[in-house]
Symmetry: C2
Subunit: 146 residues, 2 copies
DNA sequence: ATTCCGTAGCGCGAGTAATAACCAAAACGC
DNA sequence: GCGTTTTGGTTATTACTCGCGCTACGGAAT
């Protein structure tokens, strides 16, 4: 019951971009260095984010990636959904009719509620706040390496 | 991001036992039939529950399993923890010092909070209530097969 | 001796986490 | 304009881990 590494990296990458001036293009290389991600893997991770309209990309010389939305409008839930698909928690909730016990199984209803509450929990954290938190911890930019 | 089948089955098994008279021994075979679980797998699943003191077992002729605690004192979180270990959500939270970004990573704090809230969410559901829910759905016992 | 649970370990299959190779587009130099 | 360089886009492959279930043998109770 742990998020995948791809999700972890995606969150880091978005966080990194959130700290840049709005619309500023950042190099893949810079994200990788700052956040300890291999370039090839980062490419793959960013694709769904681009499709989702959260990240924009620019090819060619001087190209790179940038945030296509306001950090305040991006939440942890958004990122998790692009990487892992919808949050389900329980197999029975994956598809309607997937579980033939639905009629009488009381846990079914419980899971539905838990899932909804959990998603709401994740949706509370937006990247503007997260980036702000980081700024209070790290007033000096030069200490970003790990 | 889905719970394992073992957890699913464990919950079903506990639910089944919660509906029996307190302390009554049930056969493995009966649990398996009622809840669609293979006997060998159920054996494995019940072990951690026994170690945790949630389920009791009786060997020999006429032996079987029974609830060692009151259904009202067993929550979904208890079962999940026995099957999947502590709930972590994020690799960084698995072990203190596991994540060298802890100092400045703002997501770290967010995950800690989310995790605590999530666990509290799961801890709200006890098996006395769940079993009661089932009784309202299923007043007649003979309809329990799937 | 029989009937049950306890424990260890095996094996298939699916999913993770990368890596590699090749393709496409944009900008620059000439 | 044209080709080269610099970037991202896409697909395939791989090593590895883990979920899931099965098998086999051991141990306790009656």
């Amino acid at each position: 019951m742990v998020i995948t590494r791809a999700t972890e990296y995606a969150i880091r990458a978005i966080l990194y971009m959130s700290r840049q001036p709005k619309g500023e293009i950042v190099y893949k290389r810079d994200i990788c260095e700052a956040q300890d991600i291999t370039p090839a893997f980062l490419t793959k991770i960013l694709q769904p984010l681009i499709k989702e309209g959260i990240v924009g990309s620019q090819r060619g010389v001087g190209g790179g990636f940038f945030l296509a939305k306001n950090p305040a409008d991006i939440t942890l839930l958004d990122i998790i959904k692009t990487q892992e698909g919808p949050v389900y928690l329980n197999q029975c909730l994956v598809k309607e009719g997937n579980c033939n016990r639905e009629f009488f199984c009381p846990v079914h209803g419980a899971w539905k509620k838990i899932r909804a509450d959990f998603m709401q929990l994740l949706d509370k954290y937006d990247f503007a706040s997260l980036a702000a938190d980081q700024n209070t911890k790290l007033p000096v930019q030069s200490a970003t390496d790990s």
